[in-house]
Symmetry: C2
Subunit: 344 residues, 2 copies
């Protein structure tokens, strides 16, 4: 059996092993490892050299334990939502830039938000970033009493005590989509909505007000939909069954839009020639070469940055209460599923 480390007793090397090896004191070795100012260039050199040799790696748990600040932000995300994947990636970057680390805790069919949050708290996170949390507002408030909590993409009706909200301007996104379609010449624009999903109400509102703004109030038409391909497919079938079809569809999100596209495709209705389709989220689905969905981008990197900076502000005392809800402007990404209508 091969030795598992460079130190005799087989355990993983500690600061004191490192200090011994470099011939310096433990605190000095510590200062070098954490890049504190103080140690001379010579000492620094020797310690780093020794660290290399014995394969020393700081123990983050001991670190966090010792320093009152843990510089750790807990992130709760849902494994089933591709948009969350984008957000997690962006959060790694945003947190890193702000000098924080993130701890992930996943939610899935077999793992509740409750469990996810429990483990984050046990890990001594200083703040929580929750991606579209479903927990009741009361529960969020309860958490916020313990530590800063940022809800991303989930709007909280009455601003809940201590809970910050970072979200995209869903209404503005829907408006942009409608503007784009109208500019192309569309008038019969249907919205397949997301029911009670977070953001759905705003998107609905944005759609309606944009239609009104263009003098198309009488063409407003909502079809019940949802978050998944299946919902989109069902809604599309509803539309197909009718005599007068719309010339454009604004779906609740990309998933839903894909379901719509697929159904149209099966029904031999060419997109965008016969009907234009717009999605929402700019998830990777929309970018696929054979999909090339026109969609409203939520700018995950921006949302992530704002969420982190919000949490950090709370932690470091720079929080101003007038920014309890941060709204990021989305932007339309025009690809190949929208086009001037052939009939009007």
């Amino acid at each position: 059996m091969p030795s598992r480390s460079a130190v005799p007793d087989g355990k993983r090397p500690t600061l004191s092993d490192l200090a011994a090896r470099a011939g310096v004191s433990v605190p000095l070795a510590s200062m070098v490892m954490r890049g504190a100012k103080g140690p001379s260039a010579a000492s620094r050199e020797r310690v780093l050299q020794a660290a290399q040799e014995i394969g020393y790696r700081p123990d983050s748990r001991a670190r966090l334990l010792r320093s009152s600040r843990s510089h750790l932000v807990g992130v709760q995300f849902d494994l089933r939502q591709p948009f969350h994947a984008d957000m997690v990636e962006a959060l790694y970057a945003a947190a890193g830039a702000a000098g924080y680390q993130i701890a992930l805790s996943a939610v899935a069919a077999s793992r509740s938000e409750q469990e996810a949050v429990e483990t984050l708290l046990a890990d001594r996170c200083e703040a929580l970033i929750l991606l579209s949390p479903h927990a009741p507002a009361a529960r969020l408030a309860e958490l916020a009493a313990q530590l800063p909590v940022v809800s991303v993409a989930r709007r909280l009706r009455p601003l809940t005590d201590g809970v910050d909200v970072v979200r995209a301007a869903d209404d503005e996104g829907a408006r942009q989509a409608v503007d784009h379609l109208v500019a192309l010449g569309h008038r019969d624009i249907v919205h397949i909505d997301g029911g009670r999903a977070p953001g759905a109400a705003d998107r609905r509102r944005g759609y309606k007000s944009a239609m009104k703004h263009h003098g198309l109030t009488d063409r407003v038409r909502l079809v019940p939909g949802g978050l998944t391909e299946d919902h989109g497919a069902a809604a599309a079938r509803t539309l197909l069954a009718e005599a007068a079809r719309p010339t454009a569809v604004l779906a609740f999100n990309d998933h839903c839009a894909i379901g719509v596209l697929d159904t149209f495709l099966r029904a031999r209705i060419p997109v965008p020639d016969e009907i234009s389709v717009v999605g929402f989220d700019d998830s990777h689905l929309a970018r696929l070469a054979h999909v090339q969905l026109t969609t409203v981008g939520q700018a995950a990197p921006q949302l992530a940055r704002r969420a982190v900076s919000r949490a950090v502000a709370r932690l470091e005392g720079g929080a101003t209460d007038d920014e309890r809800e941060v709204v990021v402007t989305p932007h339309l990404v025009i690809r190949s599923t929208t086009k001037t209508p052939c009939r009007s």
Copy 2:
């Protein structure tokens, strides 16, 4: 500003706060909290009561620091791969059942495997479970010298020292798919392969040998593909451009199969009436109501259980070297994209 905790000084309650509140010593409180045997029912009751009152929550970092065993398994996964999401979910369950916790570290476009592993090591994980790692075998061996490493779904040609492998029997999966198609009456079955992706070689081999077994050696046909929808779409276009089309396609994975389906759909080729399509992975994509893809299931829960039990065996000394490669049998999930061919 509301108080952030039930303890006066605003910090989060510790064991000694708890002990003080319950009127017992710190060690006793500790024993109660970790469910050790010893404390009397009365003490246990009082401590739990007090914990409830002050909202005490054990600090897992301090716990891990103190006890030499951390009971923490690090999991590296890729945010872009839906199959990994299934695996992570299953790993939570499997690790929990074995008395371990898992720490997640994600890989993405902007976060390398190197970074992911670094943080896991800094977190004092006792073992690493890597989901289809791309790191060179030498690097894995280096890691394995420090702690038990399990590679899931990535086969290592020469069994690398100390690295355990848990994977699905990709060749067997491909064989099942071919058997199914042949049983339906197909003979011209094409395989769109995954190039150099982990598992691709095995699937290719399984396909070929199954074809041979059915006396269809002369019908063997490989089309270069890949892991994404775009790869599948490209391969499908290649097939469409030809005079003699196959009656069935076995795609490298579900993503690839979706690309194939979509391309056929656009070309007005009915699936499964004209061509049958089989995927691989049984990811949630395959289960969508409007897709209903026949596919080869990798049994994430099983893979997860085996991976965890392998890691635990190494940690607890029950590792037997004859099980360094665990192969789980996949199973075919028949949905609606396969059917008896109309022409033969």
